[in-house]
Symmetry: C2
């Protein structure tokens, strides 16, 4: 199975930590994990994991979306990191282009409208800007990521 972590602009420090934390759980379940993001988001991820223990594959976000649109690649599970409306747009894009089951990872200060707009995706949401602990608790609440693909 393979999973995509789709990251938005990294204004909020919890995004990178949550992505690495989820990547580790996915790796342990045997998923092949790809991270997609803009230049800053990917650089944060790769510099946070210089020996590639957690993130083995990273790709530019626009390239990733193009690959999905052209059916060059697809995933079983796609996590979209959402702290603003642009994250909701990426979620809609993935839903339209991919067969992946989608997980909306929602954080920031004002999460309620984002939860509402995430529709039927599996939702992991917590108010979190600088401290990832509330979001981590929600991530830990998922006992099997493979089960979400079914």
């Amino acid at each position: 199975m393979n999973a995509l972590l789709m990251m938005g602009c990294p204004e909020l420090p919890v995004q990178t930590a949550a992505a690495l934390y989820i990547a580790n759980k996915l790796n342990r379940e045997g998923f092949e994990v790809t991270a997609a993001g803009n230049n800053a988001a990917i650089s944060l991820l790769l510099n946070s994991d210089p020996e590639k223990h957690y993130i083995k594959k990273a790709i530019d976000l626009d390239r990733c979306i193009a690959n999905l649109a052209e059916k060059k690649t697809d995933f079983d599970l796609c996590f979209v990191f959402i702290h603003s409306d642009s994250g909701i747009s990426y979620l809609a894009t993935v839903k339209s282009l991919s067969k992946a089951k989608t997980v909306a990872v929602i954080f920031g200060k004002d999460i309620e409208p984002l939860i509402k707009e995430s529709g039927d995706s599996y939702i992991i949401a917590a108010k979190a800007v600088h401290n990832p602990t509330p979001l981590r608790a929600k991530i830990d609440g998922v006992k099997s990521w493979a089960a979400l693909t079914k």
Copy 2:
């Protein structure tokens, strides 16, 4: 040899990435690395490295300063992460309490005044908020951390 990474409030996403990147370099040189920070800074670090590949020891910042003041602990090298005046205060605190050689890791938008206030510490500085690449280039410019302790 042992090194301390002293982190301030984690408003800026590059801090955690820079700390993990430096920790990896220190580990590879055989340093024992301790990270100190407030609750949010430490949580970001530990959730970014859930298997403890890079950060094996973390301590609350106030506890760390108390331990230095009471001479319960000391370090050969201390990195202070600075993106505001509070970082400069921590640098002054470490200089007054510890025998460690200090490294000022300066980032954010307005770095010039912070560089001036860092005095005789070894300085690693780059304009960086969301993208750690400029700071990483400066970190990579240091060929031996052990040499800085002499």
